[in-house]
Subunit: 194 residues, 2 copies
């Protein structure tokens, strides 16, 4: 008989987030989570009040990780342009390392108090980056061709999209992927337009 | 009493795609589609065999639009780098104009013959673009910093992500958004790295 460490709320959240990322939160049921965990639904409800509580914990992890990036020294020291680059790189790395959490965050819709709060925290993160881009533009170190809010949306569109295809443990390492994203978004793929 | 033109398969597909884009295909039910259309489920089944058939029609529309871009003269004449730029611009414009169709395509998973075929057609589109990027790199007109397959994924990650937030009819016009995406991906946001 297999002996497995009993689930706690954190390890159940791990399982639930993988299920939500795979099937979509709306499409996933607590039966799916129970099946993936290999325990009964009653076993899950022993730890957590329901699907929404598991989602809320996952969103909290994702948002705490993003907010931690903004608190890192390199996001707070030096020229705005370099700080933006650092943040973009770290968001990409975080998307690789917290893949199910970020997948769920990037897809979440504000349909309840918990998800509204998550969407608002994510918007606050985006606004902080948009302010830094505006500062880099004012410094003359970032292109003014794109309005800061739109640039922020597109930048995170690029890095967020990796959750759709990135598979941890493959040949492409998180740091390589982050460097490629930084190169594409800041240097661009092409020479100056003719 | 409101008089509405009777539904046909195309107008029902319009309704179904908006529902799928809004709720996710897995989360959406034929009851949701019937409610959005304001007719009975029986009324829908008069036109179509089921949810998967509506999805297949939507995926066909999206893929036909993408393939039509590759068939346009500007995608087939001139330098590879300029052809890639044209395709990126047109994909962004198409994402704006066929928003529900592209939303559904970008999220679809290969779980049935129809969705497997759609995913394969989308991959063929990506491969065609990756070949053009490789050609532009060989010409010395596109940066070699990023491998063509990864560049393709990231480029379409950026343009595909607009389906998550773009709202037609707003201040930001499709051509403006497409130009911003082209500027970001080909010129980059920042000056050369220090």
């Amino acid at each position: 008989m297999e002996v497995r460490k009993p689930y706690d709320i954190d390890s159940l959240t791990d399982v639930a987030l993988r299920v939500f990322a795979e099937r979509g939160y709306d499409g996933a049921t607590m039966d799916d989570v129970a099946r993936a965990a290999g325990i009964t639904k009653a076993g899950i409800y022993h730890h957590v009040t329901g699907k929404e509580a598991l989602l809320a914990r996952g969103l909290d992890r994702a948002l705490a990780a993003l907010q931690a990036i903004l608190a890192e020294p390199a996001a707070n020291r030096g020229r705005a342009a370099e700080r933006v680059r650092f943040i973009v790189r770290r968001v990409a790395e975080t998307a690789c390392s917290l893949l199910p959490e970020l997948t769920v965050l990037f897809r979440v819709k504000a349909t309840s108090p918990a998800t509204e709060s998550a969407v608002e925290r994510r918007r606050a993160f985006d606004r902080a980056v948009a302010r830094l881009i505006a500062e880099g533009q004012a410094d003359g170190e970032l292109s003014t061709a794109i309005e800061p809010g739109l640039a922020t949306r597109l930048i995170f569109g690029t890095s967020n999209s990796i959750v759709e295809w990135y598979r941890p443990g493959g040949a492409l390492k998180p740091a390589q992927l982050a460097a490629a994203i930084e190169a594409l978004l800041f240097e661009g793929l092409g020479p100056a337009k003719s």
